[in-house]
Symmetry: C2
Subunit: 279 residues, 2 copies
């Protein structure tokens, strides 16, 4: 099917289903996911390169706008401690159930592990969209759940690395290998903090003086893509990078102009619908 | 190369080159095209599906925003007569030179025709962007040149159809076949006029009442894609459809909200840079 037509169908059904579900009193994302499942089963090929890339961009911009506009970073930092125990439970409980499910079907140990790991992570995009739809993201419970979603994602990457190591080399990773995984995240964080603290503010005073149309918006867009890409280089998920990139910009006055925020927000909520088809 | 990195490089170089060229007093698009040629020769594969689709979307949204926000449709209509003779010259002169160039190299008749047709059309996207950069689009000369670019594009489609017919069936198309090509354009125009006159105004009074976030923006976005797609169904270029779709919305108050226009304009000028790589 023509890709323009696919895009049109996805956007149209996502908005219509979301509207119906919202009027029934539930978060709109439920409707969008239903639209995605419906289209995925009937017409749309979710493995299509272009649609996959679009959905990835949608998720990147959703998390970016959360860091850039919606959230108070201090609250997220403060809530990480509170979120730690619930997050660990939200990983261990589904992991155990998945593992036991495998055992119940007499699968091998490694297969049970795979099922457990497949059960444990929660989609950070879906959590965040649900919080936005329910208007909880700017409240204290919202930032706690966001911290939890981020921790969950990072724990998920750890678990997956351990699993891959067991499946490939038949032993759990050495403490050295685990430190490398953790170290990558720390290095990524340090790079982003330095960029947000020293580089981006200077950059945006120059960008502010540019004559080219929409230059601030274009550079905000670029930093979203840059931080997502950098996260992938450090074996993290692109969405985590985009969130941190957005947070880095959120304290720079030149980068946080309302008009630019509105545009990024339009793209985020406009394109993100496509994401659901891939789930 | 990672697609995020490619997108980042394209956007970054396009903006930097455009800034340099604009400061030197020329339209920014010259710099963007230079960036595109530079990247196309060195790193970027312009045949990449995702980049091609992005550049197509960029061109669609550029022409859409021109119809939707920048232009006065009455002036375009009024200037079509004035534009006709210059447009015909702007097709015939390069066609003749191309044809004679082929003759000079002793090529066959059909090969000379191909070179002539390849020389005749002017990219409607590049013309429009140049007019925007020079701030001419809202002036009388701007709407005349826009009419000329649209006529040029339609004449180009005609010439190409004739050429394909000669190359394939070794005779010029019958008057019936030519009427079908012209008829398709007329039918497309009639459908769009009916939609813009009767359907879209009613649609947007409903959309205006929707509770889902960014619903007006999403539907404006959809109509851009829809009209581009419909044009392709009728063997026209997607950009022509997008322009007409934008013009259809430009007189509907609910669809022409400044905030929505700003967002579409951000996307148009933000994404369009990618277009140049494919030239």
């Amino acid at each position: 099917m023509n890709i323009l037509l696919q895009l049109l169908l996805i956007l149209f059904l996502a908005k219509i289903f979301a509207e119906i579900i919202e009027r029934a009193g539930f978060p709109g994302i439920l409707g969008e996911m239903a639209a995605g499942i419906f289209l995925g089963m009937l017409w749309i090929n979710p493995d299509d390169d272009i649609l996959s890339f679009f959905s990835m961009l949608g998720a990147i911009f959703l998390l970016f706008i959360v860091g850039y506009k919606e959230i108070n970073l201090q609250e997220v930092k403060a809530s990480i401690k509170i979120a730690l125990i619930p997050t660990l439970c939200s990983v261990i409980v589904p992991f155990s159930f998945g593992f036991l499910l495998g055992k119940a079907f007499n699968l091998e140990f490694i297969e049970c592990l795979f099922i457990g790991v497949a059960f444990s992570p929660t989609s950070i995009g879906v959590s965040v969209r649900t919080l936005i739809d329910l208007d909880y993201l700017s409240k204290k419970i919202g930032s706690t759940m966001l911290s939890s979603a981020i921790l969950d994602d990072i724990i998920g990457i750890f678990m997956f690395s351990v699993l891959i190591s067991i499946a490939t080399y038949h032993h759990i990773p050495t403490s050295m290998q685990l430190m490398i995984i953790g170290g990558k995240f720390v290095i990524f964080l340090i790079i982003m903090i330095i960029l947000g603290w020293k580089v981006f503010p200077v950059l945006f005073t120059y960008i502010h003086k540019m004559q080219v149309k929409e230059s601030i918006f274009a550079f905000v867009f670029m930093i979203a893509i840059f931080s997502a890409y950098l996260a992938e280089v450090f074996s993290l998920h692109a969405v985590i990078g985009a969130f941190i990139g957005g947070a880095c910009l959120s304290s720079i006055p030149f980068a946080k102009i309302e008009d630019v925020q509105n545009k990024v927000s339009g793209i985020s909520y406009g394109i993100y619908n496509n994401e659901q088809c891939d789930k």
